[in-house]
């Protein structure tokens, strides 16, 4: 069994490396798929494992975009002047400035998002259930609206970043591997995390927070740490997205509450909440569905997506992994004693 698992992981890793060269036409699509996987896994950290359904994780994505862009620009030029000219071509970046700015910007985006997760968490973690979801949704919407009125960061126009200095195809592969690296490390990180005492503690919070509190778990601290970790990875992904998209604006691409902000939740529900592989499987299925409807059902794609959300939530809430666990428990290391099973029947 362990051998099979190693082979499976090796195959997935090999596919990760080969896919951008095997399917060069889909370079950007594959990068977006990794983005979906990252945001889904991190949403599941709080939503699935800790029982706090946030609708505002998109806040970290948008904030990551802005922080990364502002750091990269601010290191070389005055931000106010730059956004005023709307990247009008006068501003040149050398290779060192571009890659150095990107590295520091993306890292800074992750750290800033962690910090803001702690601050927002202190304010909102007293809310439970739907109030937490509405409260965090409110934070994300408010942030988008405020940023779009903030002229120093470009207002509703957004920010235009410099273009990748090499040729277009290498750029696509480059961004693919950036996303893939963050995605793989996110997956390995949560895989390790869920096996530790910390993972057990956040699961306890999900199952019964009052009891967890009574057992001596400092629940608020655990909740803040978990959200800060999730926000770190989303912030990284947002920062990379900013450079990949080149131009972004606050309401449609950065704080896109009703697009990516809700997609990540649907991905997790589709794949299976509170499982390790669920978010990954869900993100892949959802992305496939989205791209197919976008190509063949033009005009009706949003209706199809809305219908997918409703159907998933209402009829298929256990997700693919939950369904598999029910059908094939032995794959998940759950042993059902023959005798007990017979007695049950």
């Amino acid at each position: 069994m362990a051998k099979n698992k190693t082979i499976l992981y090796a195959l997935i890793l090999a596919f990760t490396f080969i896919s951008p060269f095997a399917f060069p036409d889909f370079g950007t699509q594959l990068a977006t798929l990794w983005l979906m996987i990252i945001v889904s896994i991190t949403w599941d950290m709080t939503g699935g494992q800790m029982g706090y359904n946030s609708l505002g994780n998109i806040f970290f994505y948008g904030t990551g975009m802005y922080v990364a862009a502002l750091i990269a620009i601010g290191l070389v030029y005055d931000v106010g002047d730059y956004t005023n000219a709307a990247g009008g071509g006068i501003y040149k970046f050398t290779d060192l400035q571009y890659f150095g700015g990107m590295f520091l910007g993306v890292l800074g985006a992750g750290l800033f998002c962690s910090l803001s997760a702690v601050v927002i968490g202190l304010l909102t973690f007293g809310l439970r259930g739907p109030y937490f979801a509405i409260g965090t949704l409110g934070v994300a919407i408010a942030a988008g609206e405020l940023v779009s009125n903030w002229d120093w960061v470009g207002g509703g126009q957004g920010i235009a970043l410099p273009v990748y200095p090499g040729d277009l195809d290498t750029g696509k592969v480059y961004f693919y591997f950036l996303f893939a690296a963050v995605g793989v490390s996110t997956f390995l990180f949560v895989k390790w995390l869920y096996g530790t005492r910390f993972g057990a503690a956040i699961n306890a919070i999900r199952d019964d927070e009052e009891k967890a509190d009574a057992m001596g778990i400092h629940t608020l601290r655990y909740k803040l740490y978990t959200w800060a970790m999730a926000a770190f990875f989303v912030g990284l992904a947002g920062g990379i997205s900013a450079f990949q998209l080149i131009h972004f604006e606050p309401l449609e691409s950065a704080y896109q509450t009703i697009n990516l902000g809700i997609f990540m939740v649907v991905c997790v529900l589709l794949g299976g909440k509170g499982t390790l592989w669920g978010p990954v499987v869900g993100a892949i299925l959802f992305h496939l569905f989205k791209e197919i409807t976008w190509n063949y059902l033009l005009g009706w794609q949003w209706v199809a997506l809305g219908a997918l959300i409703v159907v998933t939530v209402v009829y298929f809430q256990d997700g693919v992994m939950g369904w598999l666990e029910h059908k094939r428990p032995e794959w998940f290391g759950i042993k059902i004693e023959k005798k007990v099973a017979e007695q049950a029947e």
Binding site: G138, A142, I258, I262, A307, I309, V310
Partner: protein, 303 residues
């Protein structure tokens, strides 16, 4: 910053401006209060948080707009929108909502979010993404040397909203169905034991909510403009009002609706119209934080 201070100064220099803002706010708020009352009804009776509330409003507006395009008088749009949206609400209840009542609260939130996306898009495909409105050929009343203008159309809108609210209140207080709804909200299991068909009550409540929203939308299309994607802003305001006022507290809902309408107009006056949506959302966060601080005194959380 100077501009903001200037705008505040204007309020003290010309006190009449305050009156105009408050009047505008009350007119806006009356319609918010209608949508919020529907939300509070559904939330209280069947514990479903309907994020598609605003899209019901917009759909009602389009029903009325479509009628006017086909030669019907505008005022007739309100009752017809009420009836049409009643049917739409009943279909949505049977297809989706009836299956999420017993589930956890996040389920209803997400399912109705999916519904909201679908409805907005279907409206967009049917009627296009332009803003639409219905022009009523009524005069505008002027007070205080033309400082305050009150279009009669808006006045009619507010009166119709008030009449609708009064009708719903009387219905809930005195009719047999209204009693059954209130009993189910108090204790669904006990209501079942006493012989109330709760399934029927749920279907009725959701349809009623949808119909109230539809009528509110038909009024809105006469007074302001509608657009397929405006729904979310009405949903947010409905949530602000219900969170502030609490469930099953109709006077509270009306007061909160009018108050939020006025506060929003003040905010838009002071900070600029671009901040109007942000102010509505920030009010929601403030209300949540305030309630949280209240609960913390008793070491409780907001559930």
């Amino acid at each position: 910053m100077d501009q903001i201070l200037g705008n505040i100064g204007l309020l003290f220099e010309f006190p009449v401006v305050n009156l105009k803002i408050i009047l505008d706010g009350i007119m806006v708020g009356a319609l918010f209060a209608l949508a919020a009352y529907g939300l509070a009804l559904v939330w209280g009776v069947m514990n479903v948080k309907n994020l598609a509330q605003g899209d019901f409003v917009i759909s009602g507006g389009y029903v009325s707009w479509w009628l006017v395009q086909h030669g019907f008088p505008a005022l007739l749009g309100v009752p017809i929108a009420f009836v049409v949206m009643w049917g739409v609400g009943w279909i949505i209840y049977k297809l989706v909502i009836s299956r999420v009542i017993e589930r956890d609260l996040f389920t209803s939130l997400l399912a109705t979010f999916g519904l909201a996306i679908m409805m907005a898009q279907i409206l967009n495909l049917m009627f296009g993404s332009d803003t639409q409105s219905v022009d009523l050929d009524y005069d505008v009343l002027y007070f205080f040397d033309g400082f305050i203008d009150v279009p009669i159309a808006k006045l009619i809108g507010v009166l119709m909203a008030a009449a609708l609210a009064a009708g719903v209140i009387i219905f809930m207080k005195s009719s047999r169905m209204g009693q059954a709804i209130r009993a189910t909200a108090q204790d669904a299991r006990a209501a079942r034991v006493m012989g109330i068909d709760t399934e029927k009550v749920y279907a009725f409540t959701f349809s009623l909510n949808s119909a109230i929203c539809g009528a509110a939308g038909a009024i809105i299309v006469m007074v302001w403009v509608i657009q397929p994607f405006y729904g979310i802003s009405y949903s947010i305001r409905a949530f602000v009002i219900v969170t502030a006022a609490g469930l099953g507290n109709l006077p509270g809902v009306i007061a909160a609706g009018l108050g939020i309408g006025a506060l929003e107009q003040y905010g838009a006056h002071i900070f600029g119209i671009g901040y109007q949506q942000a102010i509505a959302v920030l009010l929601l966060l403030l209300v949540l934080l305030y309630r949280l601080i209240q609960q913390r005194r008793n070491r409780q959380v907001l559930k």
